[in-house]
């Protein structure tokens, strides 16, 4: 098989010009090349006689190019014009025409959806961009919904995403740097920032990291994110991914960089800090007291999601003294029927919770409800009745689940859900002392983490008084305007 293919290849090379050569002035030779080349599957080649009497070849790849566009803007003018003294370039009704003459370039452009026009006797071929794209409507992203504010979301096209950002930021300071990543399949990425606000050192760092990516194909921005992170062994995300143009625009106003990967609707933003994961774009459009309340709620649920199960284990295994008597008696009553030690009980329930969440995630909505019923009624109620878990444990699991869903950012929420498990382990070994040590390790890790070379713990550690105004409590907008639009990182 391979032998035969090589033979064909050899044959082709004998008869037709190689990739590196330029096109011929003869249509027949060009047509022969196009017919023979194996790199262009699905190529359509049409021979026509155009208005000035010359013969021409119109070629494009069917499935990538926009056929109605070509027939309307290329074929139809070429065939129906009656004024013979006009040039071909003047007849074609598209904004941009390029001339190419190397076969290699021609092949690349045809694969990118261009339409090429070979003219009898011409040294160059005319190139018209006729890429057909499958575009989704810019709908509101499902996991970043807001109550107020815009309901538009990024789509799978770099240029459209940049245009959406442009809608929000009309500043003349907006800069876009294009580059490519991927060794085999080049993916276009655009780095968007505001010249007057962004830190140039971070840009340099970002560019060297992107250039250093040696991955073959980047399909999604998530993949790129992992390639350019500061600490890939951390469970905390060091870039913020968002599908919302308004929140990315708000980040740009804080001097951050947005990295838009073509064909990926989620835009990654950096440098980021721990505090950013507790903010949502909604916070700024609602009034400051209510959004401060929500912020406090998020921080409390962060603590609950990490520490509640381990706190339960520590109390049951070591520090029953700190419970009020009545609660102690009722917990003791329900614990007595459970044959497992608290750590097994807690692990069992937390794993079931994670499974339920994962099971419900990708299922269609109608079946997703079934998962909820199975989880809620069968596991929640029956497990208690059967004496497998205590009813306090069910409350603990429910509270941690709700708390972990409060996090506005799914990546951060995952990190939090994961830390729970090692925390439960240390709690069962060392009780409250273990929890405190675990907490200190988390804090140490958070403050030593960096995102694009800037500290992750800002504004808490290193402490920045000015930025604290937009952290746990969101001060009124006029008081934080400087924080919101400044080179804070």
């Amino acid at each position: 098989m391979r032998r035969r293919r090589r033979k064909i290849k050899d044959l082709i090379q004998e008869q037709t010009p190689s990739q590196d050569e330029v096109i011929s002035t003869s249509l027949t030779i060009n047509k022969e090349y196009l017919d023979q080349t194996p790199n262009l599957p699905g190529l359509t080649v049409r021979e026509i006689t155009i208005f000035d009497g010359r013969n021409a070849l119109v070629t494009y790849i069917d499935n990538i190019s926009d056929t109605p566009f070509i027939s309307q803007n290329v074929l139809s003018p070429l065939l129906s014009t009656r004024e013979k003294d006009r040039t071909v370039a003047n007849v074609i009704t598209v904004p941009k025409i390029r001339l190419v003459n190397k076969w290699k370039d021609i092949e690349t452009h045809l694969l990118q959806g261009s339409c090429l026009l070979f003219l009898e006797g011409d040294k160059d071929a005319l190139l018209v961009n006729a890429l057909k794209t499958q575009k989704r409507k810019p709908m509101e992203p499902a996991n970043e919904r807001t109550i107020r504010g815009s309901h538009i979301g990024f789509i799978e096209s770099l240029e459209d995403n940049i245009s959406m950002l442009r809608h929000f930021l009309t500043s003349d300071q907006l800069r876009i740097q294009y580059t490519f990543v991927g060794k085999e399949n080049k993916t276009k990425i655009g780095i968007v920032y505001l010249e007057n606000l962004a830190n140039p050192e971070a840009l340099e760092e970002l560019m060297t990291r992107i250039e250093g990516v040696k991955y073959k194909t980047i399909l999604d921005s998530g993949e790129l994110e992992q390639m350019i992170e500061d600490n890939p062994y951390s469970i905390f995300p060091q870039f913020l991914a968002s599908e919302r143009p308004d929140s990315v625009a708000a980040d740009l106003l804080q001097g951050r960089y947005a990295i838009i990967v073509d064909r990926s609707p989620s835009v990654i933003v950096g440098p980021i800090n721990f505090n950013s994961f507790f903010q949502s774009i909604d916070d700024y459009s609602s009034r400051w007291i209510s959004s401060s309340f929500i912020r406090i709620l998020r921080f409390i649920s962060f603590v609950i999601a990490i520490f509640l199960p381990s706190f339960y284990i520590a109390i049951i295994s070591f520090h029953y003294e700190i419970l009020p008597l009545e609660l102690l008696l009722s917990i003791g009553q329900s614990r007595r029927e459970v044959p497992f030690p608290p750590i097994i009980e807690a692990f069992l329930m937390e794993f079931i919770l994670e499974m339920l969440r994962e099971a419900g995630l990708r299922l269609p909505k109608s079946i997703g409800q079934t998962v909820g019923i199975v989880g809620g009624i069968i596991i929640g109620q029956s497990a208690v009745e059967a004496g497998i878990v205590s009813n306090i444990m069910v409350i603990v699991v429910a509270m941690t689940a709700i708390s972990s869903f409060v996090m506005p950012n799914p990546e951060m929420a995952f990190g939090i859900r994961f830390i729970r498990f090692p925390m439960m382990l240390v709690a069962s070994f060392f009780g409250m002392v273990g929890i405190i040590i675990g907490f200190m390790v988390i804090v140490m890790h958070l403050v030593s983490l960096e995102s694009l070379g800037t500290p992750y713990g800002i504004p808490f550690g290193p402490l920045k008084w000015k930025d604290l105004k937009d952290s746990v409590i969101r001060f009124p907008l006029w008081a934080i305007e400087k924080v919101k639009t400044s080179r804070s990182n």
Partner: protein, 370 residues
Amino acid sequence: MKHSYKKFLKSCMVFLLIFLVGCRSDQLSLERTSIALVVGIDQSQEEGDMTIYQTNPVFSREATDTVSTLQTTAHSLRQARDNLDSQSAGTIVGGKLQVLLLGKELMKEQAMFEELDVFYRDPKNSPNARVAMVDGPIREIMEFKPEDKPRLAVYLSDLIDTTHLRENAVLTTLQEFHYANFEKGITPAVTEILFKGEEIQVKGSALLDENGKYVFSAGHLESSIIQMLRKDVQEPIPISLVVEKPNKVLSVGVTRIKRNIDVSYKDDQLVFDIDFKLKVSITENTSSLDLIKDSSRIESIISKKIEKKADKLIKKVQDEKIEPFGLGVYVRAYEYDKWKTFEDDWPEEFSKAKVNVKTSVSIIEHGVIQ
């Protein structure tokens, strides 16, 4: 990148080293404990021994009773615990102790403070347990299981707390008991309870000497006065007076108290000038007194009554050579040089002191009738 990979490996190894080391942990699951909620110490038939009672909750679906009561005889509390441990299914822990009951007969003979050493030495024991003296055998209270009341520990602690809230008895926790013993300017007092018929009742306060030996009992109003002198009151204090014989009553609630305690020496005698300013509201009046016209008379009746009670109490306290009011602290603060000379036998010195109690009452409320 390679460097941080090694770092990751190293931290994994450290993690495993920490967690794979076998060592004894002081982990003790809740359901494996037998939590002592009420501990009672009473006299034993045998010389030098004490009878120790303990109740703990029973967590079991099969057991019909939710409380188990254990009893043993031992020389000391720690010894008793070891005995009880072998009688109980769970490990006995004292971290949630609610009430410590002490027998009156035992307290008459023995200074209790030394016996309670284990409660203070072992940090796992709760210092918040209420100390109460029982007039009568403790056994009866420990085996008291009425159907219309919660479990004994909850019932007893609620009973003591609410009585203290109305200032009808002092409330002393183990920690405060320790303080009263350690502080030279005060002698301890604990709640006194009584098992009468089929009811538990808070009788008042039991006043102890500096070593924790029982001396005499104070009733409800006397307990209120002790606490007024200690500046440890939560208003309102209810006071009922019989103003017209045989059964016409005037009840008032003391809503605000201002106290002023002055210490001085007059002719080499220690003098306390204690000045109470009470603001009272009338809560009940079944007598023929006219609240508006006779207001000054009512005020003097109330203040006379309180003064009389206080004088009587102080007289008795001085006779018995104890001092549960904590007035020694004022002497130390204002007459330090003199205090140094008699600090070790302050109750003795107090018995020689002169205490003037002056009370002025003003009525601020008559209720909603008028």
